[in-house]
Assembly symmetry: D2
Homo-oligomer: 293 residues x 4
């Protein structure tokens, strides 16, 4: 199969690497020629444009930063849908929003292409280790076509429902991640201010009703989890500004149905305080600094 | 060993039952004579007062509703410390606050009694099944003396630090429980409003970075976890008004060190809305009703 | 002078009435033919399209519901700028956002038209009584050209700065209105729950440091201000859903500069709870129902 | 009339000065002998204890920092009620809480003394200029007896209802002050980040529906109001830690009736962030620093 991959950032490059490792032909495009060069080093074929890549691929995978970039790259006049073959499959792994994803799928269907949204969970480590979770929205056929390809890059491929459902699930998960990061920060800082040792407190929480992925794997209190960003200067991991983006998409999605999301809204504000103070590119766990002496 | 047990409510009675099952002599007291009668039915000896009970016990266990009741029962002129034997051990399993617990321990030490605070996690099911977690604050000696007795009623006995540390750990855990309950409610309701099936969404969250004890075991969205209170009319479980109490204790503890706890503070307000609307005795997961169509 | 007026709703019609009362020729357009008929009854000339209206007017005034409608009506291929005369003045009285307003002004300038943004404060009563406040963004020349016309419809015409500044000022004011409405609700409900008479409490607040426009003029507690919406079944006034729109625009404007607005964000959530429960078209003061027994 | 005054801080001293200015005999007591010396300089007679002062006074005025100090000084064994004459009038000008005030009044009545709670609004400037607002709780007789004395120290003397009502009104007012301070901070900082001049924005708000005492008199944005603390290094004024105390009393009062106060709760958290960062003794308007670039 001939696969095209657009968007060669921290996530895209290792995902493409896993596709190459299984013997697929992979064409690569990015607006950065340096990123294309890195993909070629790994064994990919370079493309000179989205259009050129789309014209020669059976499957096009996109991994892009925002809904408006996604829309431009996939639906624009020089975009994927305008140049892909009849019957091509487009797998959008970007985090965008349910509405955009549903619209793109309809536009694709109208011109004979199958589109699924398949945002990921697991971060750069998951992309490298091919252990990502893919939350897939689209038709049954779209899901079944995408599954074998996604299985090369991840280990948990879930069909969430029709087009847009993958994005919906991603936003629902990530708002919990955002709220938990701040809540665990509050809990740890309170405990320490009351005289508890951080590792003892974390151990108790992790065997009690307060436990969560953040307290166990990604504890924002420095020194509690050795390989978490909090123990490594808040570098790497999930950038604060990306979390602000995801929380904003969740809040915008909730807006139409007037769905109240008060904890989500307040969380976004604290990440915005962090970003406002210059921490936008730090890991989300740096928010603990607002609560820690 | 001769054990006295004060406070025979939903938690105290089954805890006392487990002590009796291992052959200990247990004396029981409560302000409700009906509760004493229930304890006697299980094999306990009735006491006519706190003073009488304290005078004849090697170990006194208390399970009481508020810090001020704890203080009265343990430190009052007719209380435990005034009437217990030299060398007696007092194990306070109530949820109170770190400051109260530390003060009581000092008063006890001054009159030759050992006091530990040992609040629990695990609820009524854990009390019945003897699987409670005890978070213990006190001296090494106090902890070692209390451990064999607590092991009869629970399976996870953690020494958190000096007097008050058990209460501190309990509050830090429970604020996470409170915040998570609302955050999972927001996430589930947003997902459903965007067209996701609740069980599919829960499955995705539970294998992703948003997972937590609440999403897995105690999901507030009706029908997702069969034996959770949310699937049983929000009855049983952890009463909203008790959560308000715990969050208030956490916020008060934070007050002295000026520790900010914004998510905790906002969570308390939503449980207060629920209670204000008449839901104070419902399970905490009933808060989902504020976000669900 | 020949004036065109587009957008004949609750605000637009009485504003147009005041222009007619001073003898101006006013052409009217709306997507509702009924609204045009009402304008004609008052003495306006009907237009069949935006293009026709724009072609024959020296000044075009727009009063439209959302930024995207504003953009379409003013900048679209059949819109005001495409058909207006060289040198025409466009006064956009809609509430949109600073970014949209600045962009439209630039597009206008490029084709020889002057555009100012001039959102209003004062509501339907102010529109009828010609006592509106206009917050004007645009060049000095634009402001001076618009002032005499705006003076016919309002009494307080403020030049806030360059294009977009009127919208910025409007959003900054309205977020305060939103927060105050909820804060006064909390204060009044707490006072009443503590045994205070609502009118006595309002009197004290209004002579103390808690006083605000909402407590004095628009008190959300029923019965305190006789002609406020709260004393008239929460009808009339400023619809909850419009407040949600304004708060959303403020939050979106803050997003780019990472400006934290926590109280604003939380306020929006409570109006969203009200709307979610079916109160989207009620006056904003109906939010008091969430706090009142 | 022989007046005793207990509590000679920033507020108490100038209030006592105004009483002396009208020719009353005033006895003064404070735990600081330096404060007593300052009162004597102004013409007061020194007392060696609360008991001595109470024994010789017709009227005792207290201005103390916390509810527990109030309770000790008025109700303790060496306190005012134990030593005052039958028929004496006690005016407590401290900010405490409605419950404490009502209890003290009952204890006083049982021993033949009249107690009113009369907390103040207006700050140190109002205390110096004798322009304070007194919010009085107590019987009609108590109010009528206190009024002439309070009129010497203030210009607005309001009977709010039975004992405790003065405290209730004070807390309801001050929570609005706290919320407004943060809300105006958000509004001003957003406006400035969008390019508005702070004084232009303040002028618009102050003639629109967002206006409040804070925006007009106490604007937290530096430079907008020349004699506000914000324009003078956030010194003087109303200390952040005192606002935290008042908001805590309001939240505690609300707790019993399960009255939700979400904006109040969130405001307290931001003042707590400020205090946590070392700003507890700064004026409340220093909270603007959390939102300002």
């Amino acid at each position: 199969m001939d696969i095209g991959f657009i968007g060669l950032g921290h996530m895209g490059l290792p995902m493409l690497g896993n596709l190459l490792a299984t013997g697929h032909t992979v064409r690569a495009f990015d607006t950065s020629s340096g990123a294309i060069a890195q993909a070629v080093e790994r064994g990919a074929l370079p493309s000179r444009s989205v259009a050129e890549l789309a014209a020669s691929a059976d499957v096009v995978i996109t991994m892009l930063p925002t809904p408006s970039v996604v829309r431009g790259v996939i639906c624009g006049p020089d975009g994927v849908l305008a140049h892909a073959r009849q019957g091509a499959l487009v797998i959008d792994c970007s985090t965008s929003d349910p509405h955009t994803a549903a619209e793109i799928e309809m536009i694709g269907a109208a011109s004979g292409k199958t589109v699924v949204d398949a945002p990921v969970s697991g971060g750069v480590p998951g992309a490298k280790a091919a252990t990502l979770t893919f939350m897939v929205g689209g038709s049954d056929l779209g899901f079944e076509s995408a599954r074998p390809i996604l299985s090369v890059m991840g280990k948990n491929i879930v069909h969430c429902g029709p087009a847009g459902s993958g994005q919906a699930a991603k936003l629902c998960n990530n708002l919990l991640l955002g709220v938990s990061t701040i809540a665990v920060s509050e809990s740890m800082c309170l405990g320490v201010s009351l005289g508890l040792a951080p590792d003892v407190l974390a151990q108790i929480i992790n065997t009690s009703s307060g436990r969560c992925w953040v307290s166990e794997v990604y504890n924002p209190y420095p020194g509690v989890v050795a390989d978490a960003p909090a123990s490594n200067g808040f570098s790497g991991g999930f950038a604060c500004d990306l979390m602000i983006k995801d929380l904003s998409l969740a809040l915008d999605s909730a807006h139409n149905s007037r769905q109240p999301l008060p904890m989500t809204a307040l969380s976004k504000q604290f990440f915005q305080v962090l970003s406002h103070q210059g921490g936008g590119s730090k890991d989300i766990s740096a928010v603990v600094g607002l609560f820690k002496k």
